[in-house]
Symmetry: C2
Subunit: 114 residues, 2 copies
């Protein structure tokens, strides 16, 4: 997973409209018009959001006559999840270390008292 790729994925996910589009696509493929319908923004704006999602690899687009159906791609989502989980794991182990260290310190203090 390249750094640039993480940039694209996270900034794509940072916009609520784009997250809503992804949620909609989870139900099934959809065209630009269908995706734009629930929103109060222009078709062109939605088209741009789709381009962002495409660049992030989160969707791919087919061709069916004049329609361009969008479908989800799960791979970059997995990569993002992987990065996050690796971080969470390292942080947690760091906390565990601190925790052990704290307990060790307390134990030694207790011994010193006796």
């Amino acid at each position: 997973m390249t750094d640039e790729s993480l940039n694209n994925t996270f900034s794509a996910l940072a916009d609520p409209t784009r997250r809503a589009i992804l949620a909609r696509l989870a139900v099934g493929e959809a065209t630009v018009n269908e995706l734009a319908e629930p929103f109060s923004i222009s078709l062109q704006a939605v088209s741009r959001h789709l381009k962002v999602l495409e660049r992030a690899g989160l969707i791919t687009r087919g061709r069916d006559a004049q329609w361009r159906p969008c479908r989800l791609e799960v791979a970059p989502l997995d990569s993002a999840a992987e990065w996050i989980e690796r971080q969470a794991q390292v942080w947690q182990s760091r906390f565990d270390q601190l925790d052990r260290h704290l307990q060790e310190t307390q134990r030694q203090q207790k011994e010193a008292q006796e």
Copy 2:
């Protein structure tokens, strides 16, 4: 997990400098100066990045004389991971549905041939 909260978390993670700061903090607490050292940007810029991370709840800051040590907070990372995984799961089940449907269709076609 509120929508606004997801916005903050994802856009905080979307910047490579901030991800590097988080990675550094995973090793242990650090002050602003220590965090700024590896980067070629000004101290003030780092201070701002820290404010973004703080607003996203990804770090908290203590007070030790004139130093403001930063430490990680794992909770929002967990929330983000949760959202991503839920999405990935829904997408995957959607793919599985399509897959079953495809197999069903093929089976029926095969039966029709016989």
